[in-house]
Structures are given as structure tokens and as C-alpha cells.
């Protein structure tokens, strides 16, 4: 895709395949190709650099969130982290906790996964590593832990509360009911909370990611995506489809298993990596 050559049907197919292989999905890929067709007449000579630039601009625009997101002004600032099993919630919380601790904030982590083997032990290690406190209870009801944690955070004037939840499939009705209960309990203690609900999406996820985002949003409004495991070879393009269809932007990306492996999402560098 270099030099000045005619833009052929074959080339458009190759571009479509690149988009599909990034998990952007058939519908959105077709829409992007349609945009390309409207702006670059078929079989006419064109500088490929302009085609690539056009594509990059189209895609990064789709992933840009509107400015003016005032955040962090509430105290405590409550972040609820949700997502399908194994997508990286607990690890991402460790990274977020460290990010806030470094900025001088007093952070409390809430062990809201009261089900999975060693879930609390895992979060406890992240709380040690990040310098955040940990609220855990012997309770089996996550709402009970959340309730106590938020009461305590309010009383003690903590800055940030990050709530870990158990992995769940959106197809598990009882677990989605549990999630609904968690967010209602949050509101009972702090009516304006959660101030940020983050959905973890594994970068290797295919088209099911869109269904996940849609279903989770129906139970608790999702503000942002945390796109994890982008250090692999998967492009995480389903995040583009999620933003396009549900207006939920990516805010953070996970680039590894260590505490520093988190970055604020930048659409331009993300799209650049897409075409490499």
C-alpha cells in the first residue's frame, strides 16, 4: 500500500480483511470501506499514503471520546470494575490503584469477588503492591462487603474506592441480578456513585465483546472500557465496534501483567498499531 497506484476492488478487499482480522466486525468494516469508496473512486490512481491517512483518521475519530469529562472531584471517587471471567479485572484494579497511589491519593480496594478460589488473596497482593488498603469480609454476599467499604471510605475521607467483582457471563441471569444489587447498594451509601463503571474487555475477544458490553450496560451503565492484554497480537478491534454502537469509549489499556503495565488510551497511536 505504497506509491501512486489505482485503487482496485482487490485492494479494498485486502483492507476489509485487515479490519476484520482486527475483530472490528463485518458491519463496521463494510461501513468503513463504504466511506473509502465514497472518497476514492475505484480504479483511479491515488497516492496510497492518502488512503492510509484517511483510514487512520476515520478509525481514530470513531474512538475519540467527547472532552469535558470532569472526574475525581467526588470524595470518595468510586470505581466499579466489571467484566467477563478472566478478562483482567483484578490485575487492572491493581494497576489503577498504583496509578492513584502514586498521585498521592488514599485508595481502598474492595474484595467484591466473594466466590472464586483465592480471589481475595489475589487482590490482597495487589493492595500490598500498590499501597492501597483492602476491605474484605467473611461474607458471601458481595453487596455486604461493598456496603461496609463505602461507609468506611466516607467516614475516613478516603480519596478513591475501587470495587473488584467476580467474573460473570452476561448469560448468567442470577449473576447479572447480583451485579444490579451491587450497584443499588452503592447508590444507597453514596447516591452519586459509582462515579465510574469500567468494563474490562480482553483484546483477544471476538464479536461476543459487543454483546457483553450491551448486556452489562443494561444492568449498570458502563462509562469506559479497560482494553486488556493489548501486549499480545490481538488488536482489540471489538472496542471500536463497542464505541461505535454503544458510545462507550476505551479509557485505559493493559499492556502486561505488571503493576505499571497500564496506559491511558490514545486513539491515534492505537490506530497506528492497527495497521502495522
Amino acid at each position: 500500500f505504497t506509491g501512486s497506484v489505482p485503487l482496485t476492488e482487490q485492494m479494498l478487499e485486502e483492507i476489509e480483511e485487515t479490519l476484520i482480522s482486527a475483530d472490528i466486525g463485518v458491519d463496521l468494516s463494510l461501513e468503513i470501506i463504504e466511506n473509502l469508496r465514497k472518497n476514492f473512486p475505484l480504479n483511479q490512481v491515488v497516492d496510497m499514503a492518502t488512503v492510509v491517512a484517511f483510514l487512520r483518521a476515520d478509525l481514530s475519530q470513531r474512538m475519540t471520546s467527547k472532552p469535558g469529562e470532569a472526574e475525581g472531584h467526588e470524595k470518595p471517587y468510586v470505581i466499579l470494575v466489571v467484566g467477563v471471567n478472566g478478562t483482567g479485572k483484578t490485575t487492572s484494579i491493581g494497576k489503577l490503584a498504583h496509578h492513584y497511589s502514586k498521585a498521592g491519593k488514599k485508595v481502598l480496594l474492595v474484595a467484591g469477588d466473594t466466590f472464586r478460589a483465592a480471589a481475595i488473596e489475589q487482590l490482597a497482593i495487589w493492595s500490598e503492591r500498590s499501597g492501597a488498603e483492602l476491605m474484605q469480609k467473611e461474607a458471601t454476599d458481595p453487596s455486604a462487603v461493598v456496603f461496609d467499604a463505602l461507609q468506611s471510605a466516607k467516614q475516613r475521607g478516603l480519596d478513591v474506592v475501587i470495587i473488584d467483582t467476580a467474573g460473570r457471563l452476561h448469560t448468567q441471569k442470577n449473576l447479572m441480578v447480583e451485579l444490579d444489587k451491587i450497584q443499588r447498594v452503592i447508590k444507597k451509601v453514596i447516591p452519586s456513585a459509582p462515579h465510574e463503571t469500567v468494563l474490562t474487555i480482553d483484546a483477544t475477544t471476538g464479536q461476543n465483546g459487543l454483546i457483553q458490553a450491551r448486556q452489562f450496560s443494561q444492568v449498570t451503565p458502563v462509562d469506559h472500557l479497560f482494553l486488556t492484554k493489548l501486549d499480545g497480537t490481538a488488536k482489540g478491534g471489538i472496542a471500536i465496534a463497542i464505541h461505535h454502537n454503544l458510545d462507550i469509549p476505551v479509557k485505559y489499556i493493559g499492556l502486561g501483567e505488571q503493576i505499571e503495565d497500564i496506559q491511558n488510551f490514545d486513539p491515534v497511536s492505537y490506530v497506528e498499531a492497527l495497521f502495522q
Binding site: 476484520i20 482480522s21 463485518v26 471471567n85 478472566g86 472464586r116 457471563l169 452476561h170 471476538g206 499480545g232
Partner: protein, 291 residues
């Protein structure tokens, strides 16, 4: 909504008398779309569609009085064949028989290790679980908790970072646990992490497992071929386990993984509880992928 589309396509195909090349091309486009939306890798889709199209345009179909029906049959059969044709069992030779589980981060290896242990004990075997994830916070604890839930022993060496050493010690000690099958859980790793891929290579070389299972998440998208392909090159895979099949992911990754590794999918995980492990059925999977 998509499954309606394919039903529509198949209905139109069956309802037709004679089929033109255009009819067939149109149908193939819709099947292609369905497979892509089901997360089958686009290269695998291309090969699949070409093969089906070739058969569809063949004289046998064109001579038939129900060519549409023939094509639908071809699509189903082709898909089932590509998924392995029939169920496949674990081949547990050796005493103790050794099973090694590998895969990307979060795919369900630790949970699957425990599920396998439970299932094998139900079949009259004596399992020993080995904690060879020495990196993830509380990974050893996780496996120990699961072992305790099942009353199945777990071999672990806190503080030892040499997984080959740990696994070999477990095998040596297996008699002490009266174990005749040793199930080795490993850390999640990226196929592009050279050091970690060396680790699994070394594990396989040292342990010579009867089964080396690639544990993959059913919701994996196009990248499935990259990870599976690289793992298959690094170690000899004897089987695949597809987890989280209790979700509604169509599971096209199954086709991609099978196609690129040539390895049979032996089991599926259908829930978080330790009894949620089932034998993989290619015909059921074909239906699910086609929606």
C-alpha cells in the same frame, strides 16, 4: 437475528429448483458473513467457502433435483469434518500419566485442571494436581483451594521458581500420593513471549506428557489462529479445551484452532463449577457456529 439470516439462506437454497452460479455465489457470501460474525478466522473462512463452492458447482450437485438441499448438506458436513468429525478421548499412557495444560492468560487453565482431576477420579483414577504457575499472585493458593474442595492432593513448592523442577518432583512423589495421573497447571503466557514459550518447551521435553492440552477461551476472535498456531509450533499439542462455552459466543475460534493446529478439541468448559466439563461434540459445535 443472524441465525435468521442463515436459516433464510438455507431455506432459499432448499426451496430452489435449479441453481444458477449467481444463486450459489450469493449464498456463499452470506455463509461467509455468518462465519466471520461467528469469529471464524477470515483465512479459514476463505478456504472453507472455496471448498464448499467448488463442491456446490460440481456436477453431482447440479444434476440433483434438490441442489439447494445438497449444498446445505455440504456446508454442515464440511463444518463437522473440519471440527474433527467425531469426539476424541484423552489418551493416558504411562504411570503416572501426565497431563500438561497451557494457554493464554485467563483462558481457564487452573479451573480446567481441577475439572479434569475431578472427572478422572470419577473414572476411577487417582489424580495429583501440580501448581506450576509461579508468577500470578495467589495462583498456587487458587489451585490448593480447588484441590481442597475436591479432596484431591495438590503438589506445590512455594518459593521455587523452577517449574521443571517442581513438576519432576511431583512426578517422583506421585507414588506417595497414590496418584496414577499427574495434572500440571501452568501460568498463562503470550505466544510472543520467547522466555515463557521456552518454559513450556522445557516442560514438555522434561515431562514427556501423555497429553498436552491447549486451553482456549470460546469468545476468542480472529487472533485465535496466531496464538494456537504458535503454541502448536512450540510444543506438540495433543488436544484442545474450549472454555466458557456456557456463554453465548458462537465459538468460531474452535474451527480456527482446529484448522491451524490439526489438534482435536477434546473437552469444553460449560461453567465455573468443577463438574462443568463436557466432551466436545463436533456436530453440536457446527450448529452453534452456523447460528
Amino acid at each position: 437475528q443472524l441465525s435468521q439470516n442463515l436459516e433464510h439462506v438455507f431455506k432459499r437454497l432448499r426451496g430452489h429448483g435449479k441453481l444458477s452460479e449467481d444463486n450459489i455465489s450469493e449464498a456463499m457470501r452470506e455463509v461467509r458473513r455468518a462465519l466471520l460474525e461467528a469469529d471464524v478466522n477470515y483465512k479459514v473462512v476463505r478456504t472453507f467457502i472455496n471448498s464448499v463452492k467448488e463442491q456446490a458447482l460440481g456436477s453431482e450437485v447440479l444434476r440433483s433435483i434438490t441442489p439447494g438441499q445438497q449444498i446445505v448438506g455440504i456446508i454442515h458436513k464440511e463444518l463437522i469434518d473440519l471440527l474433527g468429525g467425531s469426539t476424541a478421548e484423552l489418551e493416558l499412557s504411562g504411570n503416572p500419566a501426565i497431563i500438561l495444560l497451557v494457554g493464554l492468560q485467563g483462558s481457564g487453565k487452573t479451573t480446567t485442571s481441577a475439572k479434569l482431576a475431578r472427572s478422572l477420579r470419577k473414572q476411577g483414577r487417582q489424580p495429583l494436581l501440580v501448581a506450576c504457575d509461579v508468577y500470578r499472585p495467589a495462583a498456587i493458593t487458587q489451585l490448593q483451594v480447588l484441590g481442597k474442595q475436591l479432596d484431591i492432593p495438590v503438589y506445590a513448592e512455594e518459593g521455587n521458581r523452577d517449574v521443571v523442577q517442581i513438576a519432576q518432583a511431583a512426578i517422583r512423589e506421585s507414588a506417595r500420593y497414590a496418584a496414577n495421573v499427574v495434572i500440571v497447571d501452568t501460568a498463562g503466557r503470550l505466544h510472543i513471549d520467547a522466555d515463557m514459550m521456552d518454559e513450556v518447551k522445557n516442560l514438555q521435553k522434561a515431562l514427556k506428557p501423555a497429553e498436552t492440552l491447549f486451553v482456549a477461551d470460546a469468545m476468542t476472535g480472529q487472533d485465535a489462529v496466531n496464538a494456537a498456531g504458535t503454541f502448536a509450533e512450540a510444543v506438540t499439542l495433543s488436544g484442545v479445551v474450549l472454555t466458557k462455552m456456557d456463554g453465548d459466543a458462537r465459538g468460531g475460534a474452535a474451527l480456527s484452532v482446529r484448522e491451524v493446529t490439526g489438534t482435536p478439541i477434546k473437552y469444553i468448559g460449560v461453567g465455573e463449577h468443577l463438574d462443568k466439563l463436557e466432551i466436545f461434540h463436533p456436530d453440536r459445535m457446527a450448529g452453534r457456529i452456523l447460528g
